[in-house]
Symmetry: C4
């Protein structure tokens, strides 16, 4: 265990020590045997970066433009539930860090601070350029389409009103995945916390689970969403070329390649395994956002090279928050940004747009001589 | 070691603690270095499920029709010998669990309760719809063709008379496999148990072994079997496309892809490795039943996607029985059924028939980018 | 550590306990990092046997005919040096075991008993059919072509005169391999033993090494050998298709696929890896004899399926000798013979000739689905 | 831990014991998770040598001609910084060992002895044939193009004047790689040592880092270098076919395939993985020099077979120096030379030029049967 973390991996043991064992088990767990969860990380290691040399790399530009806004880095934070379990700074702490760095955070449906309070936190950042703008480009809102469509619509309208700038609809959770640790040690929200986005306060995950609607489908629900909001819609949880095509045809604004951090169906492909077929299908018609197993700047680089436009981390933000609240999140994003910048410098890509398929080769190709 | 099992893997250490070390060694053992036994489990992990999203999955139907009967689930129990070594409930306990859930059990030739008693147990289940029907769809009988064909014929006729609804003829055992643990610690049936299907009571495996006829062959014996029974015949122990073709030509009613749980010839393919070439050869002419290494709902899903119609487990039923008798078996089948249902929900397949080859991709394909 | 070995693997720890640490280090060692030595064993595990069922396997015939003699089994013993280090029975004990079972042993150039004494031992076996025949089909003689061609010629003539029935010329040792353990703990023949085939008694391996002629080549030396003996000539140490072709063109009687048990050049292919390209090149023009890493009946089966006619073991004979002298060797060969017979029974091959390429598939092929 | 090393691997634990923990951490470390560093070594093991037999190998010639000079062996020493941290003999000790053996050393820009003193040391070797020649064929000079071009030019002119015979320009370090151990335990040059090639003595790596110019590029800087020196120019740090082509077009005299020992961008290909595509692109137009993970004579053989002309080691020279100064380096080079000679003997290649692509096959090819 290290006290002075120098990379994301270092954050894990620190977080484990700092939070309750039930919170740790809730956060670190994946579905069943956690094959997909492990594979999310491991399959990045089976990809090589082919570095180009003697290009002038004195100016590296990591900015990327998405939904009309130019972010400082192609790295953002995935929606994860109940951040106060990590640190009193909670979702607001993450929002302040992210807004201050001009990156993006997706707020989960299931937060311990209300979406309005989180928006307020972002706007409170000193010198924040969007203090009183209609939209906060650094905050996106994640939606589970619950059975009670009225409740779902309310959430969308509140997010819209509060200034969130994109809507992430999670489609890989018609039912909660089977997480054995959580089944063994059922998770309960501490009594001093609430699911702040809901009035009547459901206090168990089981309640959440039953709330999610398993009948959600391409035909009915995406057009319904489209009809109730003008925000860009990201469909999060796509792992096949076929669904990517359906998503484009349904008119979504971005595709979220994700397996929910290996927490839903164990044995699905890792995110980075799924990305190539999806990028081939999408052919640039909409941006692709990837999360799952990203832990290093080179992982970000690889995802970008294989077709992602934006790359997010889930657990690292939780562990960073546990480590040192808002400051910890800033540090964690700093690692990734710095490592990405270095990867671009050493690989000879000065702009994010330059990072293409030629920079990448599978380990198995090299093994053929 | 866990006390409250939440998946099949949890049952193993519990069973080990509960039964005699010689019974454990007899059950858990495989042939020689146990490469095939381990590979049975491991090769499932090298297959990925490609999940489809935004399909209405509010109604999942796991039923499957086989030999004219509609089972509640495509999961059944393989024939394994001498179940009383696990628990006093013995084969009857399994039969009650299986019949109650409307799944299928294949009774071994070598049982510690007579096939008639087991049939009676199944019919004793409260509200069992086949209490007095001619056939019990939930019980199949496994036959070793012993040298004394008269004995073999007797067994078939008794099973038929007792209401068994299918005949599983095991063809991978012209001689017992070389199981080193059993050679080191020879297994003896405890004196208070008998090979209940045989009058004169042979008390050692050696006796059994010499009884099996090594000259059994396609030409003579399958047509002989056909001539003495009208029951559907399943040939259990097929691992090649060539033999699958011969089986279809011999007029069998189903093909059992199996390597006897890795207990016969070590280094043969795992069942799931063998399945694709067999499915390609059979082209749907007869149903395929697979066992070997199935431990999770996703394993069942993968076998179905690759062409199996029905999927069975051997050791898990023994460990479940050891854990808690009939109730343990019910729990174990509950795990698999629930996990399969969840896999279908999260993969977007609402009916068993929907589970096809497109849901599956080999790890090695993903490793190519 | 087991006392009652049931397979070849069991012999290793027993032998280690029984012999001196310097003998153990000399025997068990391989060149450099021992990658090839380990791979010899491991690459057998990456090959699957495809078993055929419902063939009449009541009569299994493991005999094989080579150089005009019909051996009881396609398994023999490779030449290894100085067997008395293992057990007082020495080379003679192995010869008695092998002759009694009608299998084949190749005697090393560097023995602790003279080749004449070993021949006498073979003929001393009760009821041995070749007691006074000109040739002992169960004894082959291994030759290193030493610089002093006169010495080499003497050895060949003595082996011929003593009744040896084939000449194995080892071609992979123009210089001794780099075996780190032996360099660290230099091996010295105990003072009560001699290199019995040589008059003046060279007492160190270094002496042997300098004696071997590095200039031996296809053109000069194979025709020279041919000119001084009528015995069948086996060239031992071939690992490429190109050299197999040259060997056939040079008129040898058999090709020995071998990497000297991983003791010569580390990182050459394992024997079973090299076999397919050699079998393809040879196209049955001469028989192929393989050694290296064979430890189980299924290994023998795999080598036969990939084109070998005869399969030998080196270290297992040493460990067996250490375990229990002549009786130990008989037991070890018994394991292999019994396991091969069982593999043939369970795979559906009743004669050695039946074991062909269709029985075999690479693990990597199965991994493609 | 061994006291009497018999191979390069043995040197590592000895060195670790002998030098300060901060020097050890500086030397043994790689970038980030050290995947490339480990892979540099491991990917050699995935290549097999196909040995040819019965070729007259009584005369092995390991000489190789490069830049007009005939070296005794195709093995040399890569530039590494600050060798006095290992042993008082420092860079001069290495130079004496290398010159005495007629091999090649590349001196780093960042040395603890001035380049002039190192040249003097080489010339001081008894009977050294280039004692007073204009050029010392055994010494090459490595250059980092620092921002202050005047400083860089000075270094080149000094190296030229001192008799260095080639210029190695390192192109993979526009910025220092992220080495976590060094970040955790920042390295400081002991006060009794200096960066001897620089007047004003920068005492930290950070200083060095900022000095290197990130804007260096093909167009401007290679032609500039060409204009200020007549020495052969080697571009060190090429890992792609594309850059190899650019290098040839830029008129360099040799290509250095290297990933800086895995210290720059983690997850780039290992050197031996990158070599084949580069050799295919270069088509013999200029020689290729490879370093990274070379630890054995067979590694050298494999690199030569895949197209390298010269092969260097970095860390082994540091560990050898730590072990026993100049004498240790001589011993280490002796291991490699002897192992290479043995590999050539046992593979049947008598001259370095004979070592071609046919001697090599990928493990994955063998795994296909
Ligand atoms: C503890 C936890 C809670 C999560 N909660 C949500 C959630 O509420 N909504 C959602 O869409 N995804 C949720 N996810 C999935 C993440 O958005 C993201 O897909 C995943 O964490 C990415 O993988 P990584 O953790 O390896 O970076 C959660 C993940 C974790 C670990
Ligand atoms: C202890 C034990 C006894 C078995 N007895 C029989 C048997 O009597 N007849 C038979 O056809 N198969 C028998 N089998 C094989 C099983 O029917 C089945 O093929 C195998 O157990 C499936 O693999 P699994 O255990 O990995 O699920 C036995 C297996 C085990 C483990
Ligand atoms: C201790 C030892 C001594 C050996 N001596 C000889 C020898 O004198 N002549 C020879 O041709 N091969 C010799 N070999 C190689 C063997 O003939 C054979 O190729 C090798 O042992 C086969 O591999 P295995 O040990 O894995 O079965 C020796 C091998 C060992 C292990
Ligand atoms: C401690 C250390 C210092 C190094 N310093 C330099 C250097 O100053 N200049 C340079 O071009 N390469 C430098 N390198 C890289 C080496 O030249 C070489 O590419 C690498 O060490 C080869 O890998 P190996 O250590 O596995 O043999 C250094 C490497 C190490 C390990």
């Amino acid at each position: 265990i290290v006290d002075n973390p120098v990379c994301i991996k270092d954050l894990e043991p620190i977080a484990k020590r700092k939070i309750s064992s039930s919170a740790w088990s809730y956060y670190s767990t994946g579905a069943m045997d956690e094959e997909t969860m492990r594979n999310n990380v491991d399959s990045f290691s089976r990809i090589r970066i082919r570095p180009r040399v003697l290009r002038d790399v004195s100016n590296i530009d990591t900015t990327v433009t998405l939904f009309g806004h130019t972010y400082a880095s192609p790295v953002g934070i995935s929606p994860t539930a109940m951040m106060k379990l990590c640190h009193a700074d909670g979702e607001a702490g993450v929002a302040r860090a992210v807004a201050g760095l001009n990156q993006a955070q997706t707020l989960s449906t299931f937060t311990t601070m209300s979406l309005e309070d989180v928006a307020k936190a972002a706007r409170s950042v000193p010198d924040y350029p969007f203090k009183s703008a209609a939209r906060i480009p650094n905050l996106w809102f994640q939606l589970y389409i619950v059975e009670d469509r009225h409740k779902a619509e309310q959430l969308v309208r509140r997010a819209d009103a509060a200034g969130y700038s994109a809507l992430v609809v999670t489609v890989d959770t018609p039912q909660l995945g089977r997480r054995l640790h959580t089944i063994r040690e059922p998770f309960k929200l501490p009594t001093d916390m609430t699911h702040a986005n809901f009035e009547g306060n459901s206090d168990s995950l089981a309640a959440i689970n039953t709330a999610v609607d398993a009948s959600v489908n391409w035909n009915r629900d995406i057009s319904w969403l489209r009809s109730i909001t003008k925000l860009p819609i990201i469909v999060k949880g796509i792992l096949t070329a076929e669904d990517a095509e359906l998503a484009v045809q349904a008119g979504v604004d971005a595709i979220g390649v994700s397996n929910h951090g290996g927490r839903q169906l164990d044995s699905v492909p890792s995110s980075i395994e799924a990305l190539p077929e999806i990028a081939r299908a999408v052919k640039g018609r909409v941006p692709i956002i990837l999360d799952g197993g990203v832990r290093k700047g080179t992982d970000v680089f690889k995802a970008l090279a294989l077709g992602a436009t934006y790359v997010c981390v889930g657990r690292p933000s939780l562990y960073a928050l546990a480590y040192d609240g808002e400051e910890g999140v800033r540090k964690m994003l700093g690692f990734l940004n710095e490592e990405l910048r270095l990867a671009m410098t050493l690989a000879g890509a000065t702009k994010v747009k330059d990072i293409n398929r030629n920079f990448i080769r599978a380990e198995t190709e090299y093994s053929r001589l």
